[in-house]
């Protein structure tokens, strides 16, 4: 059986499984559609939340970004896990005690203002749609690869599949489907990593393999650590060393902080904690979620480093000072087949610029390499395109693993993108139909028309995401990072102040959210282009070129500080919060009497 058929088989079988579960658990009432009847065990909930959370950004994109940057991109690892500490300590138990369906309901009630609820809906929509753009990028790449078509057509096809899938079930279908998706994606991520770790270091646990010595072909230890070897090879090719810090600490700290705060402010993740039966379960649930996430996140840095080593060695089979790989080998040797398949997606390319029949892969921007290139007659880096987002999907092929592993990874990548896209669409549709339409515009809407509105808003969200996704502002994980910045600057501060301060009032919260959101959004557009349209940006998105010396992916943390400051400032000069709101805050703070959550 050829690889193409095998991929189709794995992807097809996994889809059949998810759709089967979605049909079986099809949501009938609005309550089930949004929150799965609240009967979900913390471990089950943790697993589903992990699938919901780990998206194309974590599965497809993150290891690639770490692989080509090394230590500097550790922010993704710390940021996307550290946020769960904030979520577990500062939000989850209290929001569960409050016991309503959506994040904006809490904000609307706590700040006793329909305007606050409306602003929260807007913040949520902006962050979620940006997030969906990143997912659609991942879906496009995964579909492009396994159908061997251009990533653009993969994106269009993928968006249809995501829509059909998300419309089918609500949260209930999604919860159990997501447990299945978690299993598929974690196996797909770890199995190839275990194989590769064994090949390179003889250690079956990739997380430990990363810090182990490499082994020779005969299995004996070489006495050289994997990271030492990698550092040597990449610096010899003129690239920045893997383990050292090259980014300024300010940007790294702010970027990490933005991802952390954003994690705790993303509506589709917070919604999950409404679905556990008790307040104490909400606390455990956050822990279980992180356990399931950590399984992937502890493996990811190993995947990145090992893939970088494998790619470098493939391009320089005779060592970095020997002959580079020849065009003939790439075209004929079965071990290099992956390069031709990925070339079809338009995400990988090479060109023999100096016509010597070899493909030299090195950093042609490095001054140190200029002399070596001149001496050897090299005319620039000949691995002309290597999209970071293909690394994880291509990884098993690069390591020459069996065909079924490659098929499994294709299925896993799609599971990751699909589960998150579905969860986000659910958050978007509930924001529009439940908070906006039913909550504000047409309160006497029937359940049936509410469900219909939910589905229409899903369709609109997908179309918007695909259109904006045609010019993605970065690799999938970077696009997603922008979404986190927006959530960090708008939603999280409002939620936290709503629980921890009785002083912040309606006017303060609205002013704070608007200030945080607008500041962050404008800053991102100034650096990434308005609505991500290329060449409409006013500043270069580097530490040196940017407006405040802060990159757009790191600005969310600053936006959050502005949100807090504005909210406290405005609240201190406006009317005090009424007594019943102080009582509400008091009751949210203690678990007793939580009961099951109720609708308005």
């Amino acid at each position: 059986m050829d690889q193409f058929t095998l991929n189709l088989l794995f992807v097809g079988a996994s889809f059949a499984l998810y759709i089967g579960i979605a049909v079986w658990a099809r949501a009938g009432s609005t309550s089930e559609f949004y929150a799965a009847g609240r009967g979900v065990h913390p471990v089950t909930n943790g697993m589903a939340t992990a699938a919901d959370w780990m998206s194309a950004a974590s599965f497809i994109s993150m290891a690639g970004l770490i692989a080509f940057t090394g230590y500097d991109n550790s922010s993704f690892l710390m940021g996307w896990t550290g946020g769960y500490v904030l979520l577990a300590l500062l939000l989850a138990p209290y929001l569960r005690k409050f016991g309503k369906f959506t994040v904006s309901e809490f904000i609307g009630d706590r700040f006793y203002s329909p305007t606050a609820r409306l602003v929260a809906v807007v913040c949520l929509l902006v962050a979620s749609i940006t997030y969906v753009i990143g997912q659609m990028q991942g879906v496009g790449i995964a579909f492009g690869r396994f159908l061997e078509i251009d990533a653009f057509w993969g994106l269009l096809l993928g968006s249809c599949v995501v829509f059909a899938y998300a419309v089918f079930g609500g949260m209930k279908g999604v919860t159990y489907t997501q447990v299945a998706q978690y299993c598929v994606l974690i196996l797909a991520y770890t199995i190839p990593a275990v194989f590769i770790s064994l090949q390179l270091t003889g250690t079956p646990i990739p997380a430990l393999g990363l810090f182990s010595e490499t082994v020779n072909a005969d299995g004996a230890s070489s006495g050289v650590y994997l990271l030492t070897k990698l550092d040597l090879i990449v610096t010899d090719l003129g690239f920045a060393s893997y383990t050292e810090a090259h980014k300024d600490s300010l940007n790294m700290v702010l970027f990490t902080l933005s991802l952390m705060i954003g994690t705790a402010g993303l509506p589709h993740v917070i919604m999950r904690f409404f679905t556990v039966p008790r307040v104490s379960d909400a606390r455990w649930s956050a822990g279980w979620t992180l356990v399931f996430i950590a399984l992937l996140y502890l493996t990811a840095p190993a995947v990145g480093a090992m893939a970088r080593l494998n790619i470098s060695e493939m391009m320089w089979p005779n060592g970095v000072n020997g002959e580079a790989v020849s065009v003939e080998t790439i075209e004929n040797d079965a071990r290099y087949n992956w390069m031709a398949t990925w070339q079809k997606t338009g995400l990988l390319d090479w060109e023999d610029k100096n016509g010597d029949g070899k493909i030299q892969y090195y950093n042609d921007k490095s001054d140190a390499m200029a002399d070596k290139a001149a001496a050897n007659g090299w005319e620039g880096n000949e691995l002309t395109n290597f999209n970071r987002d293909i690394l994880v999907l291509a990884n098993p092929e690069i390591a020459n693993l069996p065909g079924w592993v490659i098929g499994l990874v294709a299925a896993g990548g799609l599971a990751a993108a699909l589960s998150t896209a579905a969860g986000l669409l659910l958050a978007i549709s509930s924001a529009v139909s439940h908070d906006l339409l039913k909550g504000q515009l047409t309160p006497d809407m029937s359940e049936k028309s509410e469900l219909f509105a939910a589905r229409v808003s899903m369709a609109v969200a997908i179309v918007v995401a695909v259109i904006l996704g045609l010019n993605p502002p970065g690799f999938a994980a970077q696009t997603v990072a922008l979404a986190f910045g927006l959530a960090a600057a708008s939603i999280f501060p409002a939620l936290m102040m709503g629980i921890f301060s009785k002083r912040v009032n309606n006017v303060g919260a609205v002013a704070g959210m608007l200030a945080g959101l607008i500041f962050t959004l404008v800053y991102i557009f100034l650096h990434k282009g308005w609505f991500f349209i290329p060449d409409t940006n006013s500043f270069v998105d580097t530490a040196e070129g940017s407006l405040l010396g802060i990159q757009s992916t790191a600005i969310g943390a600053v936006g959050a500080v502005i949100n807090f400051a504005v909210a406290f400032g405005v609240s201190s000069v406006t009317k005090e919060t009424p007594q019943e709101i102080k009582d509400l805050v008091e009751s949210v703070r203690t678990p007793a009497g939580a009961g099951s959550a109720v609708d308005h």
């Binding site: 577990a88 300590l89 990271l227 990490t256």
Partner: protein, 94 residues
């Protein structure tokens, strides 16, 4: 607890205040640890840990890529355990 529920409102309010400040104390301690391992050991204090070698690199690199995640896990489970205990001590559990 039956005893607490028969208390006067004043006593209950005082208990609620104590419960909340105990919670805040636990949160602050946890968040200090959270910040020290990630922003501290992983980023800002990394140069100070440069002398401690771990598998071909230094301890700061390990904290940035793996160590902080393990500490985060510990923190969340500690908090869940500690708070569930505190709920019982103050009789505010469900």
């Amino acid at each position: 607890m039956a005893e607490q529920s028969t208390n006067t409102d004043g006593r209950a309010a005082q208990d609620a205040g104590e419960y909340w400040s105990a919670n805040i104390r636990i949160i602050i301690i946890s968040l200090i640890i959270w910040a020290v391992v990630s922003f501290g050991f992983g980023i800002l204090l990394r140069p100070m840990l440069a002398g401690i070698e771990v598998g071909g690199t230094d301890l700061g690199f390990w904290f940035a890529q793996q160590g902080s995640i393990l500490v985060f896990l510990g923190l969340i489970f500690f908090y869940a355990w500690r708070m569930n205990k505190l709920d019982k001590e103050y009789g505010v559990e469900e």
